[in-house]
Structure formats: C-alpha cells, structure tokens
C-alpha cells in the first residue's frame, strides 16, 4: 500500500493544441474578417472551453494494494488502485511493467477504466508462473480529464508477490528408516504405544486395560494384551544446491530448469513427509539469500519451507565455503536428501561428508536432459568434458553407498527408501 510519487493535474499537448488553434484562429478570423478561419477554429475553441470548464478541482488520492500477496505457481494476484476524490476524471489508466514471471491480464499490462463517480478503481490481474519473489512495480497510474486535456499521474512502487513453488506430485510407498522421534506415522522397530500390530503377549503391570485381548484371554485363561509397534517420526533433512541454474525455465507451464526441479521436488518431498507427521529441515546453499529452516513438523512448517524455497536467487556465482553441514540441523539419525544438478562437485562432497558421519544420504540429480550451454564450440566442448567428469564423480559416489537418483515424481525415492528400511536393522559403521 505505497505510492511513491504523484504529479498534480497538468495540461497536456491536446489542451495546448485546442487552446492555441482555438484562440489564435478565432482572433485571426475577427481581425482579418475570415469566416473560413472561424469555422475551422470552432471545434477547437469549443473543446478548449469545454476542457477548461470541466477541469478537475482536486487532486485524487491513490491507494494501491496487492491481494493476495502470496500465491502458488500458476495462481493470480491482483494489483488494485483505489482512487478517491476522482471528480472530473474521465478515465483512469493503469500500466504495469512487463516482468519475466508475471503474466498480466490483459497481456499488455494496461488497464483503462471509465470513471463516473468520485470513487474509482483500476485493477490489473497478474498470474505468477514461476516460484520466487517478484516485484510488481512501478505501476504507473494516469487520470485523464475530459477531452484528454489535463492529466494527473502517480507511481505506485514497493509491491512484491511471493510465489510459493507448486510441489511436484510425489509419493513414497515404503516406510522410511528408523528414527528416535516421539510422534509420527512411521512404524518403529521397537514395541510401544502405536497402531501397527506387533503380536499378543501376557499382561504385564502398567499395560492399559483397553489393550487387553479378551478373546485370547478367555481361551488361554490368562490375561493377554495386543502389543503394537511404537509410531515414530523421521527427520528428513533436505539440501538444495542453488549455486547455478541450468536449462531454460518456462515457468509452471513450460520446461523446468535445474533449480525449478530442485525447488519443486524439495517442496514435494517436504509436503509428503510433513503430512505423515515427520520432521523436515531445509538448507539451501549457493543462493544469494541464505535459507535455512530448522526441523519441525506440521502444515505450518510446510509453509515455512515453501517460503524459504521461494526466496532462492541462484544465478550469481559466488564461491562456496567448503565443509559439510554439521550442527543442530543434521543429527546422525536423519535421512538426508540432496537435490542438485551435480555440475559442481560441492554437492557430492557434502553428500559424502554427511554419509561419513552416519547419515543416510540420497542425491537427486536435477540436471535437465537438454541443457544448451552456448553456440561457442569451445564452450560446448568444455561442457561435454564437464558432463563426463560429472558422470565419473557420480559413479564414485555410488560406489561408497550413496544412491544418485533421477527425479521422476511419484515413487522417485521408493527404491532408496526400501533399501534404507531393509538396512535399518543391520549394523552400520560410522565415523564419530
């Protein structure tokens, strides 16, 4: 709700034309007794007098608003300019600049509205087609008086819409690995108070009465209870490599670049695990705006994670500090998922480092298949060499037990999670 500058009512070229032609020609017709000149000047004289007589008396007030300020990819928001004291205004024009990831309606970004009362509004709907934080302005507003003679202009700046990534479709059938959380839907390996059936056993002191299995107890003549596995949660630590963006992004309706795939996949994985009651954390590295979300669960946390993903600004290269992400965010029992195009070896270095500290790690390769780098033969050759090196690095990582998976939507992580569940009970070596 900010308007940066306004210019009071000023006469435009149309008014000057009408006044100059009207006054000069009428005066000339009288002085030189030229009825032809009088006839030719008549429309301009009438327009000049009409325009002057209906000149707006007061400057209007403009209040610009954007609603909703936060949308998902593909959804629309609307900038609305409310004008008060608009008496004498003929029509109002709103012009929104054309932005990369905002599609205004109409496509020109120009809205013209008739004004017939002292209160008027002009609105420009805009559809956001890519995640991120997008500036809408500056939006120029011009009020025009009768015959276009006078105009009042304003610039409305400072509006921004946050576009949350639309998580890709994702689902995972196998249960994830063991965890020591307190709540959640994941069956733990240990018996406890849960819903998953574990077996029947004799009653012990402390057992709840509602757990007694009466049919078994009557048959055996001894009290038995239904034992269950405890329901526990998993800490899923997401790492998003935002050092660079590869491939062309066409927004929600077009092709996905590497960072598009990373962001949407991270959103999908977070949504999936959070809705199961697990804890999810996020760390974005390489972005101009550092983003980090501590582990938590719940729908509100999903919004926090999507908000952090929307703040990623990848393209500017900046050297990244080496070293694995350690600390409170990543504990030894977390399931770490790294999303990266793997063009830089940093993500793989981090993945190896995390795995060496006992974490279960998977890497999701988000590099699009049809990346066109440059028409320059030398650059093309360098890119092909880098892709070969990348393949070697990926094989090396896989050899030490870290799976590198492609992102295919639903079931992308199923083989990995199944393997993790299988290995959950087996002893593991970890460097502590």
């Amino acid at each position: 709700m900010t308007v940066s500058s306004t210019t009071p009512w000023q006469a435009g070229p149309a008014h000057l034309r009408a006044v100059v032609v009207g006054v000069v020609a009428v005066a000339g017709a009288l002085l030189f007794r030229s009825p032809t000149l009088l006839v030719l000047a008549t429309p301009f004289a009438i327009v000049a007098v009409w325009s002057t007589a209906t000149r707006p008396a007061r400057d209007p007030s403009l209040v610009g608003r954007v609603g909703p300020p936060t949308v998902r990819e593909g959804e629309a928001t609307t900038w609305t300019g409310q004008l008060t004291d608009a008496g004498g205004v003929d029509h109002v024009v709103g012009v929104a600049p054309l932005r990369n990831w905002l599609e205004p309606r109409p496509r020109s970004g120009v809205a013209v509205r008739d004004v017939s009362t002292v209160i008027a509004s002009v609105a420009i709907p805009m559809r956001s087609i890519r995640w991120g934080r997008h500036d809408l302005g500056p939006i120029r507003v011009a009020c025009v008086s009768t015959w276009g003679a006078f105009r009042w202009t304003a610039r409305d700046v400072g509006h921004r819409v946050v576009t949350l990534p639309l998580p890709a479709v994702f689902d995972a059938a196998p249960s994830s690995h063991h965890s020591n959380g307190l709540v959640g839907l994941t069956r733990s390996a240990r018996p406890g108070d849960g819903t998953e059936f574990a077996g029947l056993r004799p009653f012990q002191s402390g057992d709840r009465l509602r757990r007694i299995n009466w049919r078994r107890s009557l048959r055996s003549g001894e009290l038995h209870v239904t034992a269950t596995y405890a329901d526990q949660d998993t800490h899923v630590a997401l790492f998003v490599d935002a050092q660079a963006d590869f491939g062309d992004s066409g927004g929600i309706d077009g092709a996905a670049s590497s960072i598009d795939t990373s962001v949407r996949a991270a959103g999908a994985i977070a949504e999936h695990f959070l809705l199961r009651g697990d804890r999810v954390s996020l760390r974005v590295f390489g972005s101009r705006v550092p983003a980090s979300v501590a582990p938590a669960s719940g729908r509100a946390h999903l919004r926090r994670i999507l908000d952090a993903l929307a703040s990623i600004e990848p393209p500017t290269y900046r050297p990244l500090q080496r070293g694995a992400p350690r600390g409170d965010m990543v504990r030894g029992d977390a399931l770490a998922i790294m999303l990266s195009p793997l063009v830089s070896s940093t993500a793989l270095d981090w993945a190896i480092s995390l795995a060496s500290h006992g974490l279960t790690v998977a890497v999701i390769d988000t590099l699009p298949g049809d990346v066109h780098v440059s028409d320059d033969p030398s650059t093309g050759l360098a890119w092909r060499i880098r892709l070969l090196e990348r393949r070697v690095e990926m094989r090396a990582v896989q050899r030490v037990g870290i799976p590198v998976l492609g992102w295919d939507g639903p079931g992308s992580l199923d083989p990995f999670l199944r393997e993790v569940a299988r290995r959950a009970s087996a002893p593991r070596m970890a460097r502590r």
Binding site: V19, L30, V39, L40, T42, D59, V110, G148, R151
Partner: protein, 190 residues
C-alpha cells in the same frame, strides 16, 4: 570479409520491431483513423480549390503518421496548422460544403490524438470510453456545422463590418483566453 553488425544498433532495431509488434489492433485502427482524417481535411481543401498541392499533402501525411505514433507530443499542432494554412491560402469560398467536412475531420483527428495520448500503444481502450468520446465529438461537430450555417447565412447577407462589434468580440476572445490560461496552469486543491 563481412562487416560485423553493431550489436547496439541491432538491439535498437529489435526493440523497435518488438514495439511495433506489440501495438494492439485497436491502436492500429485509431492511428489509421487519425492519419485518414488529417489527410481528408487536407484533401477537402484541394477538392474545394480544384488543385492538389502534393508536397503539402506528403508533409501532412508524414506529420499525421508521426502524430499517430506519438500522440503525446506537439506534431499534431503542425498538422492542424498546415491544414488551416492550406484552406486560407487556396480556398476563398466559405459556402463550400467541404469546409465543415474539413473542420469535423480536424476535430476527429484532435480527439483521436487526445484519446490515445496517455494509453500505451499496446493497450486497449474500453468500448464505453470510445462511445462517450464519440458522443462528445458528435456534439462538437454538430456545433461546428451550425456555426458554418450561420457564417454562410451572414456571408450571403453581405452585412457591412462593425468596428465596435469586432472589438467586443476580440475582447471576449482575449478574456476567454486569459480565463483558460488561468484555469489551465493553476494548482488544484490538494
């Protein structure tokens, strides 16, 4: 060896082409209408005088095209001035029906430029706004035709000139001009 293209110039050209492609269909229609009315006003003088002044016609068409492309500058004033100059220099018959035609054409030319001055070329003006402007233009055009009829009737009566009346009329014109100027430049209430 071929000369390398100036990237700066190529960018400017590309921008110009993009801007041309972005012009809305309605804006093309209104622009063509502005050029057509200016040309018609000039042609009316040629028809009324019985001779064509081709250099003048070319200049008027070129100025009208520039005015239609950039309605928010003063090229329109040049077009109107040329048309009036053509009438004064070549036509001496106030009773010709081409005179109100030319006056109305110049009115429409002025209205089209005024209407499109603030709206970017890629934008479209709602039909309701165009209808309202059409009504207003029709009212002024009718007044112009009425003025022409009055002038023709007075011309045919061949009344003698009256210095006092002319002076009074000039005084009224001067007072009106002063009032218009005062209202046009004063700051409105905030």
């Amino acid at each position: 060896m071929s000369r390398a293209r100036d990237p700066l110039q190529a960018g400017t050209m590309q921008r110009a082409v993009d801007e041309l492609l972005a012009v809305s269909r309605q804006r093309w229609v209104l622009g063509i209408g502005a050029v057509a009315t200016a040309t018609t006003a000039f042609a009316a003088a040629s028809v009324a005088s019985g001779g064509w002044w081709l250099p003048g016609l070319v200049v008027v068409i070129a100025s009208a095209i520039v005015s239609a492309a950039r309605p928010d500058d003063h090229t329109g004033l040049v077009v109107v001035g040329l048309v009036i100059w053509q009438w004064l220099a070549r036509v001496d018959d106030v009773g010709t029906p081409w005179l109100p035609v030319a006056a109305c054409c110049m009115l429409v030319f002025h209205a089209l430029l005024a209407l499109t001055a603030v709206v970017p070329t890629s934008g479209s003006i709602p039909g309701a706004t165009i209808a309202r402007w059409t009504e207003r233009t029709a009212v002024v055009a009718a007044s112009t035709v009425a003025m022409w009829i009055v002038v023709v009737v007075l011309e045919r009566r061949d009344l003698p000139g009256n210095g006092a009346l002319t002076g009074l009329a000039l005084l009224i014109v001067a007072a009106t001009a002063t009032a218009i100027r005062a209202r046009s430049v004063r700051s409105p209430l905030r």
